[in-house]
Each structure stands twice: as structure tokens, then as C-alpha cells.
Amino acid sequence: MGRRTPLFNLHTELGARIVDFGGWDMPVQYSSQIGEHHAVRRSAGVFDVSHMCVVDLRGEKVRAFLQKLLANDVGRLHEPGKALYSCMLNESGGVIDDLIVYYMTHTWFRMVVNAGTRDKDLAWIRKHAAEFDVEVTERTDLAMLAIQGPEARAKFVTLLSPAGAQTAMALDVFVGREIDGLFVARTGYTGEDGFEVMLPANDAVRVWKELNAMGVASCGLGARDTLRLEAGMNLYGNDMDESKNPLESGLAWTVSFEPATRDFIGRGALEAIRQRGSPLKLVGLLLEDRGVLRSHQKVVVSGVGEGETTSGTFSPTLERSIAFARVPAKTGDHVQVDIRGKLLNAAVVKPPFVRNGKPRIDVAVTK
């Protein structure tokens, strides 16, 4: 038996199929994975993401600490509640984890890291926090729900006070705020509008049931994976890990090399790679032949070399198979993927595949 969130019993009552995810017993789907996917693209769905690890970092030097710890620069965060997506790198530039960090006050930042990497993340954070006198507190008292979809915000705010609802609806993208005793952030992992809400663990079941009663669909990790892949978002452990750097993981945009004086962990290694040019890159693939792309399939780039898919699935929105693949930097606009010994054709495309319910790539190629 794995670890369980405060919603575990409700998931089983709702008929969820439970799987192990990073040591946690989590719902992978309730009824139909495709149905849950479409609910989020077309109206609203709720996900239990309480397995993710919320860490509060407090201290006078917390900003300087994070400017060393993270590849993206928290120096850019000035508005309270503003969030930043970043990688946390090791000395050789490999990705220890990807995370979101919120600027709360000048002595307090809040970080959300992956469940499967919790132990090593906390050890790494604590190791480096010591020299900055930063206090590291894991918030195991909080549950976290992601309410996502075009109707998600309007439905969720009906659970708040009138003033709270107004504040929540006015939140900018990638900003969070404490509202009515909850932490409500306009963030997500689906490519749709919505909130991620941290709330006292004891309130989670009630809020979930109230959302269901409003027609917000219970959604599992299966739909979460197809949604994030369509949205062009990386999954730690699939698309990058400690042996891969952000430049070969489609995450160069999250590395802040300016100011040049900011000495973040992994900077030296990344600069060397950047100078000579990363030999590999992460691209999107759209399968042109019939079949389904999966992770770890061989990618053949004619005249250039080989690569590998890192995530792959059937896209319910495009009704085609899509993937991320790590391929040689010289790869052009077409590759072949080895699926069970057959070489199938795939177009190289720029993610995201889907955003805000709409296809973002042209699927009008031979089906």
C-alpha cells in the first residue's frame, strides 16, 4: 500500500481505478479517460494533486537562496503571489526536478515539487538552505486540487465568499493569493484556464463533492497526462531527469542566463553546453501513419541519426497520436518512429499541440 491523500476514500467510492504513482495510491481514471479529458477541454474537471509536495521557505535571505538554487530567476518576481516555473539543477546541469515557486512576501516563498522526487528534493533544498539560514517546512497539512477547464474558474468561485470570488476571478495568469483561508492560484497542467487550490486537508472531500454537484467532472492521472502532453508540458522522469539538461529538454526558455552575475547551481555546465550548441533537442511529433506513439520508441532521422520518444499518447482532441522526442539538433521536419519493428512516419511539430480547447498544429496531413 502506498501513501494516500485525504481524498483516497472518496476516489474509491467514486469508482476510480487506483494505481501507484511515485509511491502514492492515486486515481488514474473514474469512468472514461477520454471522457475526463474532454470534460476539461470543454467545461471543467477536478484533479486530486495532493500528492505533490508543498514546501514553504522562510528567511531574510530566501530570495538569494532561490537565485542560487533555481535555473530560472526569482529576481523577476515582485508582485506578491506571482509564480515562476523553474528547473532545479545539479552541478552538471541535469534536472533534479521541475517545480513552481510562488513569491509570497520578501521573507517567504512557496514551492510545489513533484511527488516522486520529494525525498531527494527536500534533501537537496535543505542542504543548500543551511548557508542562507532559510527554514524549510513541508506543508503536509494541505491538500491540493486542480480545477481546470473553460468553466472551471466561474464554478469554483461560487464556493467562496462574494468578496473572495471577486478577488479570485481577478487573479492574473500565474498568480496565486490567500483567499478565504485557501491558497488559490491561476495555474495548471492542462493547457486550459483554471485554478490550483491548496486547502486544509479536512476540507478537501467537501469541496470535491461540491464541485461534482456543480457538474465539475472527477478526473484522474490518465487524463492529466494526455492533457499535459497536448499542452506541450514536460513530465519529470519521462521528458527529463538528472541525466538530461534543460537545453535538450525543451526547457531553455526556463533558464535565466541574465544577469550574468547570478551564479545558480548548474550554470557553469549549461554555459559550456550552450556555447558549443546542444547536440540534442526535444521536439513534438505528430504521427502520420496509423498507430500510437509511446515513450522509449526509437526515432530514425534519415541522414542524421537516431533519437527516442520520451512521452507519447493518443491525443483525444486531435484524434491523432502525438509525442515528445529527443532527437539530434539537426533533425528537420520529418522522422520515422519504430513501432513494434515497423517504421512509421511522423511530422516534427512545435508544441503545444492544443491550447484552450483549440488545436495549435495543422493535422491536415495524410491520416
Binding site: Q29, S32, Q33, G222, G291, V292, F314, R340
Partner: protein, 131 residues
């Protein structure tokens, strides 16, 4: 508990076999199997005329989550495949024992049909798997 029709034979790997009484059999995956796989999005069926051995992988069923091989319960020659599945793989989710059939086979030796699992034996397999 999954639906296990009484007039079919079964395998431990969740295929079903229907004796069509015309010298051929129809083969598919069970309701339990389709439920475990989830929404099916791609199915690859064997070519007509192909000679298959017992236990040989003959078809692939892919859901959003994963790809899974389908094994031929018996040896024989493929006499038909379900082309409908090419455009509507969800037929397997909707009707695993009917419209979602995968292939028809002319058994090399019809006598082996009786060696396949009975519905009761298959129910026991499902129970043992905690289904």
C-alpha cells in the same frame, strides 16, 4: 464482476473464442480485458490467410494508456478480420463479445477447443486477479 457469457471459451490471457459451427471460430478480448485497458484508440488485426500458432501474438489493442498484445488461443488460419475496428476501435469497449470481435480462424485441430477454459474456470481466473 465482469460479464462472462456462458456460451464461449476463454484463455488465461483474457481472449474469448466462439464456435461458429461452420468450421471456424471467432476470437476477441473479454469485457474484463477491455475494461482494464480503458478507452481503445487503435487496433491492429491479422491479415486474412495468415497461419497462426497457439499462443502467438496476432493482434495489438491500444488504449490511451498502453499497448497490449492479443494471443491466438488456438492454431489455425485467419479467415476474416474485423475491419470496422480500423476506424471504430471503441466497438471493443462497447461490445467486447459482439461487434468488437477481432478475427475468425479455421482451427488446425478443432478438438483443442474443448481444452480452452470454461466460463466457470475463467471466472476463477478473474477472482484470483481480484477483479
Amino acid at each position: 464482476m465482469s460479464n462472462v457469457p456462458a456460451d464461449l471459451k476463454y484463455t488465461r490471457t483474457h481472449e474469448w473464442v466462439r464456435d461458429l459451427k461452420d468450421g471456424t471460430v471467432e476470437i476477441g478480448i473479454t469485457d474484463h480485458a477491455q475494461h482494464a485497458l480503458g478507452d481503445l484508440v487503435f487496433v491492429e488485426v491479422p491479415e486474412v490467410g495468415r497461419q497462426v500458432g497457439a499462443g502467438e501474438p496476432v493482434a495489438v489493442v491500444e488504449s490511451v494508456k498502453a499497448a497490449s498484445d492479443v494471443y491466438s488461443p488456438i492454431a489455425g488460419e485467419v479467415t476474416a478480420n474485423n475491419a470496422e475496428l480500423g476506424t471504430t476501435p471503441e466497438l471493443i469497449n462497447q461490445d467486447a463479445f459482439g461487434a468488437g470481435w477481432l478475427m475468425r480462424l479455421k482451427p488446425a485441430n478443432a478438438a483443442v477447443l474443448s481444452e480452452l477454459m470454461s466460463p466457470t474456470e475463467y471466472q476463477d481466473v478473474l477472482k484470483a486477479e481480484g477483479a
